[in-house]
Symmetry: C2
Subunit: 304 residues, 2 copies
C-alpha cells in the first residue's frame, strides 16, 4: 500500500515511523515544504521515499495523509486535487474537523474518498526531530466519516489506525469539534492564560521562585506552538467560546464564595471524583489495549 504523508512535523513524522514499524505492508512517501524536513525524515527512517514536488508525492498514493498546519490544509487540497488517482483515500490529522470537511468537499474530486482524522496524541515539542514511533500507542484516533463515505475506505483507514497501535473512534465532525473544544482546546487556552497572567505580573521575578511542579504541569501546554494554538482557536471558535464563558463564570462565582467552606468542599470533591473516575477508566482501557498484538494482526481491508 502506497501512503503519502504531506507535512513532516511531529505528527507526520511519528505517523511515518509507526507505519513503517508496523506489520502492515506499506511504502511511505513524504513531502514537506521545507526540504530540510524531508531529509531529516529520511534520516530518521520516517519515510521510504522523499518527494520534492507535491505532484510526485501523491500521484501513486492509495492513501494521502495531510499532516500540515491546519491553515495550510485548504491550499494543499487544491494543489493535489488534479493528481489524485481514482479510488484514493485522503485524510488529515488536524485538531478540528468541520472546517476541514468543508474544504475537502469544495476542493477534492468526487473520485476520491475523504475521511477526516485526528489522533489524540501530541507533545508541546514539534518537528520531525521530536517524532516518536510510539506516539500513537493506545491513543484514541478519531475518524469522522459522513453519510457519503465509502465503507471500504473507512474499513481500510480503521485497520491502518489499529495497525499503528491506536484506537479508532468514529464520530461526526461536529461532535468531534464540540468534544475536543472541552478536553483539548479549553485546557491549552487555560494553560496559556495561567502562564500569561502570572509571568506578566510585576511581582513575577520574586514569585517565580515559588512555582513548583503544580505550576509546571498546569502551564505545560502553554509551551506548545503558538501558531497551532491560534489556528485551532480560529477554526473551532464557535465550539470553544461557550466553554470559555462557562469557565469564567465558574471562576467568578468561586471568587464570590471563597469563605463558603461547604461550597468549596463540594466543588473540590466533585471535581476529584470525576477526574479520578476518568483516570481509572483510561488506565483500564489502556491496559486492555496493551494485550499482546491483538490489534496488530494485518487486516484484509489493507490489501488494496
Amino acid at each position: 500500500m502506497n501512503i503519502s504523508i504531506i507535512g513532516l512535523g511531529l505528527i507526520g513524522g511519528s505517523l511515518g515511523l509507526a507505519l513503517r514499524e508496523s506489520s502492515i505492508d506499506v511504502v511511505v512517501t513524504g513531502w514537506d515544504r521545507d526540504p530540510a524536513a524531508i531529509t531529516a525524515a529520511l534520516e530518521r527512517g520516517a519515510i521510504d521515499h522523499p518527494a520534492f514536488k507535491l505532484r510526485e508525492a501523491v500521484r501513486d498514493a492509495d492513501l494521502v495523509v495531510v499532516a500540515t498546519p491546519v491553515m495550510v490544509v485548504q491550499a494543499i487540497f487544491k494543489q493535489i486535487a488534479a493528481d489524485l488517482k481514482p479510488g484514493a483515500i485522503v485524510s488529515d490529522v488536524s485538531s478540528t474537523k468541520a472546517q476541514i470537511a468543508d474544504w475537502a468537499r469544495e476542493s477534492l474530486p468526487p473520485h476520491v474518498s475523504f475521511i477526516g482524522g485526528h489522533p489524540m496524541a501530541g507533545s508541546e515539542r514539534h518537528g520531525v526531530v521530536n517524532a516518536r514511533v510510539d506516539l500513537f500507542n493506545s491513543a484514541v484516533y478519531c475518524l469522522t466519516p459522513d453519510d457519503r463515505t465509502a465503507p471500504e475506505a473507512l474499513a481500510t483507514l480503521e485497520a491502518l489506525v489499529a495497525g499503528i497501535g491506536a484506537r479508532p473512534l468514529c464520530l461526526s465532525a461536529s461532535e468531534h469539534d464540540a468534544y475536543v473544544a472541552a478536553v483539548s482546546h479549553l485546557p491549552f487556552v487555560l494553560s496559556a492564560a495561567l502562564a500569561q497572567i502570572t509571568t506578566q505580573d510585576p511581582r513575577w521575578p520574586e514569585m517565580s521562585a515559588l512555582a513548583a511542579t503544580g505550576y509546571r504541569d498546569l502551564t505545560r501546554l502553554a509551551s506548545g506552538d503558538p501558531v497551532m494554538h491560534r489556528d485551532i482557536c480560529l477554526t473551532n471558535a464557535a465550539a470553544i467560546q461557550p466553554w470559555l464563558r462557562d469557565m469564567a463564570g465558574l471562576l467568578n462565582s468561586l471568587a464570590d464564595r471563597l469563605d463558603d467552606a461547604h461550597e468549596l468542599h463540594a466543588l473540590f470533591d466533585s471535581a476529584k471524583q470525576g477526574r479520578d473516575a476518568w483516570l481509572h477508566e483510561r488506565q483500564r482501557t489502556t491496559e486492555q489495549e496493551r494485550k499482546p498484538d491483538a490489534l496488530r494482526v494485518p487486516d484484509p481491508a489493507l490489501s488494496i
Copy 2:
C-alpha cells in the same frame, strides 16, 4: 537534635525520612491523631520514636514541626504551648502563612521561637504511605521570619532545610501568601474547575474518550485532597480572589476575540515565552543545586 513531627501525612512522613537520611544528627519523634499513621511511619523509617500523646511528643524537642492539615494547626498550638521547652523552635508546613503567624502569636509562649515554613513540594497523593525521602530535593522551602525572630533560630532552621536538600527562601508571610496564591492556589482551583465543568457535562460519557495527556496533566491537581484545597482557599481567600477575577476577565475577553488572529497569537506567544524562560531558569537552578553535596555539609548552627 531532637525533632518532633506533629502530623505524619505525606509531608510529615517525607520530612522524617529526609531528616533521618541526611547527614545531620537528629532523633525524630512522631505523633499523629491516628495511631495507625504512627505505626506506619515507624515501619517506613520516617521516625525514630512514636509518641502517642502530644505532651510526650514535644517536651524534649529542640524543634517541633506541625505538619497537620492547616485547620488543625491552631488547636495543636494551644495543646502544645504549656509543654514546649524554653528556646525550642516551632515551625509548620502549611500552604498559607499569615493566618498561621497570627495563631502562633496568640497561642505560643514567648520563650519559644516560631518561624513559619512551607516546602514547595507535594503530590496529589497523600498519607505517610506515599511519603518519599527525595520529596524536598531541590525544592524551594519558604521560611517566613518576622522582625521578632531570633537570628540563631532562623539559622538553625535554614541549615536543616538545606540539609534535606531543599533551598531555603526567606520572605514575609504576606509576600508568601500573595505569591503562592498565583503559582500554587490558582493552578489547583483552575484544575478543579476544568475537571468539574467537563466531567459534569451531559456529553461527558462520549467526550471523555477524547481526553488525552493534555487533559490528564491539566486536571492532575484536581485529584488532590478536597479538604486541603478547601482549607487553603479559606485561609488565603483575600490573596486568591483577585487572581480568580483576573483569570475570569482574561477568559471572557478571549471568548470575545476568538476571531482575532493577531490577538490570539500575541497571547499564545507571550505565554510561551514567559513559561519557557521560567522553565529554563528552574532547570539551571536545579542542576546547580545537584552539584555534589555542597548543601549537605553539617552546619555549626545545628549543634543546639
